[in-house]
Every structure is written in C-alpha cells, then in structure tokens.
Amino acid sequence: MPSALWLARAVMLAYAFGAVGALVSRGRAGRALGAAGALAGSLAVLCLGVLVLAGGTPLPLPALVFPISGVLLRVDSLSAVFLLIIGLVGSAAAVYGYGYSAPAPGHPVEPATGGGAGGPRPHPDPRAMGTLLNLLLATMTLQVLADNAFTFLFAWEAMSLATCLFVLTDAADPEAVRAARWYLGMSHAGFAALVGLLLLLSGGDLTIPFEVVRQATLTAGVRDAVFLLAVFAFGTKAGLVPLHVWLPMAHPVAPSQASALMSAVVLKMGIYGLLRIVVDLMHGGPAWWGGVLLGAGALSAVFGILYALLESDLKRLLAFSSIENIGIIWMAIGAGLIFLSYGLLLPASVAFAGALYHALNHAAFKGLLFMGAGAVQRSTGTRNMERLGGLIGTMPWTAGLFLIGAAAVAALPPLNGFASEWLIFQALLEGFRIPQPSTALLMPIAVGILALASGLTAACFVKAFGITFLAIPRSPAAERASEAPFSMRAGMALLAAACIALGLGPFVVVPRLSGALEAMGLTAPGPPSPPLVTRPLGIAGTTGQMSPVLLAAGLLGIVALVHIGLRLAGARAPVRRVDAWGCGRIRQTPRMQYTSAAFAEPLRRVFAELYRPTDDLTVHVHPASEYFVQSIEYHAAVSPWIDRLIYRPMLGLLTRIAGRVRAMQGGSLHLYLLYLCVALLVALLASRWLG
C-alpha cells in the first residue's frame, strides 16, 4: 500500500504548511492558510485511518515521514481508529477556527458577575491559533503512529507543550496562567511516570521497536509496576479522577476550537496509550488490573457528571462531562481486562469495541458541544448560563446543532452516544459468565453506576441546553446575540452529521473495529468467528440486538402518521400566542425563570453527602426586634473536596521542599560552577561503579 505512505507524507506536509503559513502571513490570509493546512492535513489523516481500517494490515511507515533519527513510525488498525478521531475533529476544528479566530462582533463589555465566567477579553492573536492548531494536530498524529518508546515520548511531550500553549493563548488572563501551571505540573508528573514505565518495558533501550517489546517477558512484579505507572501516566492525560484537577481549569480558558480538540481528541491519547501499552504490548494482566480501571472509571463517571450538573459555566460543564465520558471508557476497558483475565474473549471484544466506539463518539459530540459553547461565548461575551437564555431565537443554527450534541451525549437513541453505551451495557451484562461470584458481582454494580451516570447526564444536558438556549434571555447580551458566521456553523454541522451517521451506522462501524481488536491481539486462533455479529441494519452484542436505522425510520414514520392523522381528525385549529400561565401575576420577567442553580438543586440535595456543600445563611434583623428582617444573604458553594483532600497537602509539602532547596541558591556564579563540577564528578564516578 504505497498510497498510505504518500498520505502520511501529505499529512505532515500539510500541517507544516499550515503552521508556517499561519505564522508568516497576516490577517485574513493567515487565518485562511492556517485553516487550509489543518483541514487538508486532517482530511488526509481521515483518509489514512479509513484506508488502514478497511485494509486491516499494519504498515510500517519508513522514517522519511519525519526526518529525525531514532523515530520509528507504523500504522495499524488501533492507530487508525484514533486517526479517525484526529481527522474528524481536526477537520471540523479547522473550518470552525477560521471563523472563530476572526474578530468577534463588538459587544459592550459587561461586568463579569458570578460563576467566574469573565466577560469578553481582547481577542487572542489568530496567527498563534492557526500555528498551534496545526502543531497540535501534527503531534497527535505522530503520537498514534509512534512505534518505539522514543518516538512515543517525543510526541507525548510535544503534544503536551502544544496544548499548554493553547491554554496560554490569552496570557493576560490570570485564570489561564493558573490553568497552564496546573496543566504543566500534572502532565509532567504523568510524563515522568511514562518515562519510567517505558524504560521498564523496553529494558532500557528506548529505540527498539514495539514489536520487540511485545515479545519480551517480564516478571510479574515489573508488570504490575508498569501497569500502575500506566494508570498514573495515562490517567493524568485522560483526566481520570483524582488526576483530573487540571482539566476543568484548562479546557474552558482555551479558544473554543482548542477546547474542542482538547476534550475530544487530546484526552483520547490517554485512552490510546492505555490500550497500546496495557492491552497490546502487555496482553492484559490479572483480574485486579481490570478491577482498578473499572473502579477508577466508575469514580470518574459519577464524580464528573455530578460536578457538571452543578456548573453554571457552560464550558466548565462540558469539561466535567468529558471526565464522565472518559470514566465510561475506562470502565469498558476495565471490564474488558477482567473478561480477558478469565479467558472470556467474546465479552472482552464487545467491551473493547464499546470503548473504542465510545471514544470515537465522544470525540464527535463533545467537539460539537464545545464549538457550540464557543459560538455562544463569541456572540454574547459570556459562558455563564445564568446570563444566557432564549438563544434558540437569535442563534437558531447553533441551537439546533447544540441540541443534536446534547441528545447524543445524553445517549438518546438513535444518536451515536446511545450506540456505544448500548455496546458497553451489553458487555457488562455478560458479567454473569465470570466464574468467580465475587468478581461477577462487580458487573451489576458497574451497570448500576453506568445507568446512574447516563441518567444524570440526561438531567445535566437538559439543564445545559434548556437554560442556555430556551426561554427568555437573562441579560441584554443574550438578547442581542447574533448567529455565528458560516464557517463556524459548517464546522459544527460536520460533527453533528458525524453524530447522526455514527449513531445510525453501528453495523458499518463496529465490524471495522474488530480490526483494531485484532491489532491488540484479541483474536482466537482458528477460523475467524466474528465476535461482533452484525444483523441486517443492526448490531448484536452477545445477549441482545438492535437496529438504530429501523428505529429512526420507525420514529419518523410515526411522526408522519400522527401528523396526517391529526389532519384527518380535523385537529388543525391555528395556534394562538398567549402569555404563559402565572397564577395571576401581571408580567413575566426573565428573573422569574428557573435558573441553572435552581434546576440542579434537587440533585444537589440528594447527593449532599458527596458534594459536601457549604451553605452560608446570614439574616440581618432590625435592632429593635428580630421579627423585622432587613436583608438575607445566602451563599452556597461546592468545591471539589477531592482536590482539597489530596492536592492541598501535596502542594504544601512541595512548597516546603522548594523552600529548603532555595538555601542552595546563592546567586553567585562561582557557586553554580562548583555545583556543576561536583555533579559531573558524581556522574562520572557513578557510571564507573555501576557500568
């Protein structure tokens, strides 16, 4: 397949062209060049992914693609799935970014009140955005193509730095600086773990190809250590609770095409790494590995969506929802590993296929939602939902597309979120085949947690869409909102179409995914018994089947029949517009509506044990009598206690250590030269004794 090699070259050329082009030219031309490079590169990535998935054979890409020695690249079906993710969201982000990085329509700056969502800030430099977009896409492509530890590490660090620069696009914003600092700290802790695990795995030589690593035999202790390091390293990248702290800070402050990429694609690199290292290179492990992933995933799923529910900053809400979805994917991978450890290949395949499918689907709908939130922010100058509302009238396209994304993330049939969650449910329902009852009992509990998370997601996105887009505008800025430019709508429409297509076509997607499962070594020897049976227009797990296409056709048919039926029954009196019912109040104002906080209040009370909210009620009474209330102040806050519990002591310790180390810093050049000499001497002696 020489065409794949050419495609890979085209990808790198296009991204390089886009990055340089955006940097050197100004204004509209710069934006166009950056977008064109990113779009062409992403489309080529998409083609490469489709080509490899259809062909199914792994393919080494000679290092020509990337001219640095020691770099080794190879594409197989597992990489191809993630190439699809990069290509899909990358193309949409490129188109969207062209419009987004144009100067926004002028809005008088409103005082930023409540929710921490600031008003409009000076627009970031479009040149930086174009260059960074191309760089980030290129590093991620490199990441999934890496075929040795050195390339993997190089791409990993380059990707982290590109992301960090994106977070810092608006460097004047203290929120962004803080987010970038957290992001850098966490991703470097993860990087350290990654270096450690790759050194252990490759026996010290980082340049040997992964194929050699795959054959290596390691002792059980080393394997366990590698696994735990992998959970830490990929958990920080994917935003797994409790390693997620950077995520809700970093994703909202980046420009929206970058937020979309970060949530939809960069997080998936953690998933990719986990699958590549733990499943592909190490062929899974004991059941407790799966248990750890299942538990961490369940924690992330519930924690993520519970905090998303309370959030009134639209982009932070989406960021927390990403934590939930990542949790669901980890749960599926954990279940897959458990099945694998008991030799139950079929359920394991369903679980891993569900994980991959959900990774793809989450990329489509979360990219769409972040772009929708970006369109809202650009048009109204705020992300605070308490100041939005009524946008379905002024931004009908954005509203409609965001609704598709919201329905997809809430796993409503027949959209894509449902298709993958259905597969994961099917996999978990297979849990009763596990011979050991104590392990088997984990599965119904996982089903309960997954169902709870999906129910809470539905509630959360009713709030996100309902408060932002429906009813009466809650602020003048929301009232004056105007529709997003065509390119932004086109970017969103692309992802919305993907949500619908991926939802209707699991019978096309899922069989292709089995190639990726084969690439991970998940095939039984002998004649190919397709683990994922496809039905005409539908799919079957191992215990049930469904057909989204027929379902969608049925739903449309019923709507049409009802419409005709109503006509025939003579129910066609014209609609009359009236005031909403208000128990006799004279006038309806936006202040009378349910707010984001009010909507989430019942669930906040139900889960008070988990939220540990702090409520503060102060009643000021007249000095003469306590029966005359002058004013009432009420503050309610929910701060994630996991952060307080884990990170505050750790940061305190780090600060203390840093204080001690400062004693060494004399500021004199001679002192530093002395340190250098001593360090060199120690290194030389150590190498002599050890080597």
Binding site: G389, G390, I392, A410, L412, P413, F425, G431, P437, A440, P444, I445, V447, G448, A451, L452, S454, G455, L456, A458, A459, F461, V462, G466, I467, L470, A471, I472, R535, G544, Q545, M546, S547, L551, G554, L555, I558, V559, V562, H563, L566, A571, A573, V575, R576, R577, V578, D579, A580, W581, Q588, P590, M592, Q593, Y594, F599, A600, E601, P602, R605
Partner: protein, 314 residues
C-alpha cells in the same frame, strides 16, 4: 407484508388504542375504592377528542421545540409500545430494539418533555423539568440493575426471548431473584409513570406537580398527544411487568386461537395490575419530593439483591 409484520402492527395499534381505556379503568377503580361513582371508562377517549378539536394556545416565548415535543414524545412512546410483546413472543420486530433501547427511548421522551417545560420561561415548567429529571436520573440505576437480573436468567435482553425463556422454564418465575426484580421494577413503574406516591396525576396545585407541571403550558391537540403518550407509557410499563414476569398466555404459535387466548390473558393481567395500582393509590399518600430518593434506593437495593440471588442461584 408478512403475517409477523401485520401482527406487530396490530400489537402496536392495540397498545395505542387501549391505553386511554386502561387509564379510564384505573380512574374508575380508584373512584369506586374511594366510594365515588367516578367517570365512565370511556372518559379519557372523550377528553382526547375534545382536546383535539380545541384551539392550541402557545406561550409568547416558546420556540419551535415546544411545538415539536408532543410529536417526539408521542413517537418515542409508540415506538416503545411496538417493541414490547403484547400478544406473541418471537416476532422479528423485537430485534429492532431490546430492553435497553426501550428504557432509553422513554428517557428520550422525558428529555424533550423537560426541555419543553423550560421553554415557555414559566417557573412551574422549570420546576417540573428539574424534578422530573431528578427522578428519572435516580430511577435509571434501578432499571439498569433490574435489566441485569432479567438478562441473567434469560441470557438475553431481547424482550421476546426473555418471555419465551420464562415460558420454557416456568420454575424461574418463582425464584427469589425474579420476585425481587419484579418488586424493584414495580416501584420504578410508579416513579416513571408519575403515579402516587411519587407524583399525583390528578393534582391541581402547581407547587406539588411534577409531570403535570411540564404539561402546564400545553393545550389543544398538543396536550392531547402528551396525555395520550402518558397513557401509552402506563400501558407499556404494565405490559412489561405482566409479560416479562408472568408471560403465560402469550402466543408461541401464531394461530387465531392462541392469539385470542393471548388477548384475554393480557386483559386479565392488565386488569389485575390496574386494581393493584388503584388500591395502592387509595392507600398511600404522596411522598415529599426529598423522600422519593429513599423509595428509589429501596428499589435499587431490591434490584441488587435480585441480581445477587440470581447469580448465586445459578
């Protein structure tokens, strides 16, 4: 069309057509138990006919979503009715969607209804939407685990197959796992269909409403569709309880006699469930909203016990 396709269509129409009647039966039984005469059983049909003729009023701030929602809710509910075995097991239509699809289709209806509650900007609609989504979210895990219990004994989430498996192995019907799962799903049915003690379908006080609060702004044909959909939802949940846990009477072969027996058995089972609901609604008072999670957690524990019992009793 083949015979099975016709039968599937007939089943669906049966559910759609009989659903208001079932609601009428429950109302009538309830009235009798409370010492009233009550409206005739055909009353819901008359109400639907009246509503269909009336002029629909729509609030000023409501968007197109408000007017589309009745169609979406009605379509998802009817689609669910098409997927539930009413008369026969083993129809090909059950392969279009399994138990998980049924649950998520109903959730889709709830999702859009809650959005429509928020749309006119009235505080009552928002209140109803918030409460409805709270209860729906808390009911989900119960349903999930109960599905696990059912799938575990039947080795399938296909509704036709669950019923067929039970018919083939009658002993499983009285296993503890099965009885516990039935109890759990019965409680969920009350929550999902907005019956006492979770929600009062006949309340007229806005502040206590859940489901009705979301419907407050609706009138005319839109309200008719939503009321009808609510009736179908109750019918479908009853049919699920009846035919998944007590499948006897369902036609295995598609002969006219078997189908007639199936129809009779369905009427009998629905009648028993309607009586149980009427009795319950006469005996218990509405729970405070923040006591509802306790009720649902009881049913979650029941479902979990059901799975444990089934797992250990394999």
């Amino acid at each position: 069309m083949t015979a099975t396709a016709w039968l599937a269509a007939v089943q669906t129409l049966l559910a759609v057509g009989l659903a208001p009647g079932l609601a009428g039966v429950v109302r009538r039984l309830k009235a009798r138990l409370q010492g009233r005469i009550g409206p005739p059983i055909g009353q819901p049909y008359r109400e639907l006919r009246k509503l269909l003729q009336k002029e629909p009023l729509v609030a000023h701030h409501a968007s197109w979503l408000f007017r589309a929602t009745p169609f979406i809710v009605f379509a998802t509910t009817v689609a669910v009715a098409a997927l539930v075995p009413l008369l026969a097991v083993g129809l090909p239509i059950y392969a279009v969607g399994d138990l998980i699809v049924v649950v998520d289709l109903l959730l889709a209806g709830t999702f859009f209804l809650a959005l429509a509650g928020l749309d006119p900007g009235s505080p009552f609609g928002g209140m109803g939407a918030s409460r409805e989504m709270t209860i729906a979210a808390l009911a989900e895990p119960v349903i999930g685990v109960a599905i696990f219990a059912l799938a575990l004994t039947a080795d399938s989430t296909n509704l036709g197959r669950i019923a067929a498996r039970m018919l083939a192995h009658p002993a499983t019907a009285v296993s503890p796992g099965h009885l516990l799962a039935f109890a759990a799903l019965f409680i969920v049915t009350l929550a999902e269909t907005g019956r006492l003690p979770v929600d009062n379908p006949s309340t007229h006080l806005e502040l206590t409403m859940i489901h009705e609060a979301m419907l407050l702004e609706y009138s005319g044909r839109y309200l008719a569709l939503l009321e009808w959909a609510a009736d179908i939802k109750l019918f479908v949940f009853f049919a699920l309880l009846a035919n998944l846990f007590v499948p006897w009477g369902l036609a295995v072969t598609l002969t006219p006699l078997a189908l007639a027996v199936a129809l009779g058995a369905l009427a009998l089972k629905l009648g028993v469930l309607a009586l149980a609901l009427a009795l319950l609604e006469t005996r218990v008072a509405k729970l405070r909203l923040f006591r509802v999670p306790e009720l649902l957690s009881v049913s979650f524990v029941l479902a979990l016990l059901a799975v444990t019992a089934s797992l250990l009793g394999r």
